[in-house]
Amino acid sequence: MNWMRPYLAVLSARFRSMLQYRAAAIAGLWTQVFFGMVNIMVYEAFYSSTDKQQPLTFAQVVSYVWLGQALLALLPWYADSEVRAIVRSGAVAYELCRPIDLYNLWFMRAMAWRTAPTILRAVPMVVLVMFVFPLIGLGEWRLHSPTLAAGLGFAAAITCTLLLSCAITTLMNISLMWTVSADGTVVMMNALVTIFSGMVVPLPLFPNWAQPVLMALPFAGLVDLPYRVYVGNILPGSIPLIIFRQLFWTVVLVLLGRWLMARGIRRIVVQGG
């Protein structure tokens, strides 16, 4: 488990620093619950506008929305601001001196960066929308608990989501080596992630002709596939295939990232003394 040690070290540091900002966490929770409720009301209005059978039921969409709010921090939104500072200040030279592979270090850092805030936000959120909502008369809007098979499948799929998300994050971090202000690349990636992961609208609700494209892209593995496993829209029999697709894309993106990093290191210029 030696390779895990840097990860655990960064993770625990991140946890401790985040726990200092409890007020910010509560504020974030409130904002996300608000967003979730607005989204659910919009879906409610759409679902009440038609009698046609939809690819997802309203109850499934509600759970999908809450999972999205709870696991928001798991998505590869931003390049790691610490890595940004490291590249900008030239401290990346120190990083290269460390007796551990730079790609692994950055990947582990991304994992810590994603898991700590996710756990901190998801736990209170799930307690609220799964258990408190039915008590305060918002039962229709609650997060449903999954069946045992779906729950286990979801646990496996969301772990793969973490790996996939970190592969994308690390790729964004590596892009910082080229343009010191890589904001353009990052914001472009954000747009792709937002729309093609299912964060804006669950992917099955997109037109039928778009489905093959949406499913072929790596982004579906970030949100849509694991969430649909949870809500029971993807049957347990198909779970191995989902996981295979997530891991396939993870491997492709890791290889791409390693290749780019090797090229980036060759041309790196360390600024400052």
């Binding site: 910010a24 967003f35 759409f46 914001v187 729309i195």
Partner: protein, 266 residues
Amino acid sequence: MNDIALYFRYTKISIKGQLEYRTSFVLQAAGQAILTATEFLGIWAMFSRFGQLRGWTLPEIAMFYGAINVAFSIADALSRGFDQFGNMVKSGDFDRLLLRPRSTVLQLIGQEVTIRKVGRLLQGIIVLAWAISAMHVGLSTGTAGLLLIAILSGVCLFTGLVILQATSAFWATESLEVWNAFTYGGVLMSQYPISIYRSWFRRFFTYVIPLACVTYYPILAVLNRMDPLGSVGWIQWVAPMAGILFLLIALQVWKIGVQHYRSTGS
């Protein structure tokens, strides 16, 4: 008059500074436009699946969507200084502003006019233009003016919200993020007609934070549409006043806040 000249000077300097990094600016603006456009793409997807939203069509929703996005992006660009205000209180930098013989509001508004958010504005204008071109009745001078007033009133309301958020920094330096529910959440909410929401929610956004007054009611008149909530015509025409009123109240609250300000002393 002097104040206005000063404000334009502030603005000029701020914009000039941001244009120094031209490539970064263009990329950020383009990225912002694409990122915010994903929201509209989502709405389009929902309409392609469901056909209509409780009787509302896609071009009608586009009118709400465009108007609120234009209003928010203008307010967001103007009030960036207030947005950063929490940090100024923490660092004690606000003291410097108090020493200068100008109003704090002017100095904060003049602090920065962010133009990299021009992407959202651009995107909102395009959607709004499409919504107008798709209208059956077309715009008259009257309804065009009303739409413009609605947007201006939206700018006032969002600026008021940001000022209230900043004012809360006088009492609490953390957790200002709660206000995001009303600003960003307000934008999300106002992209759709308020009639689709539950009544407690509608009431909150009509009487407490009058977002419904700045877009929903005037746009009903612009679209020449019957209100499912049953409002009469003249209400739709005077409702935008609420946005301006909201800003005036926010400014009063700000004044009270400034009087209570105690420097961190650092």
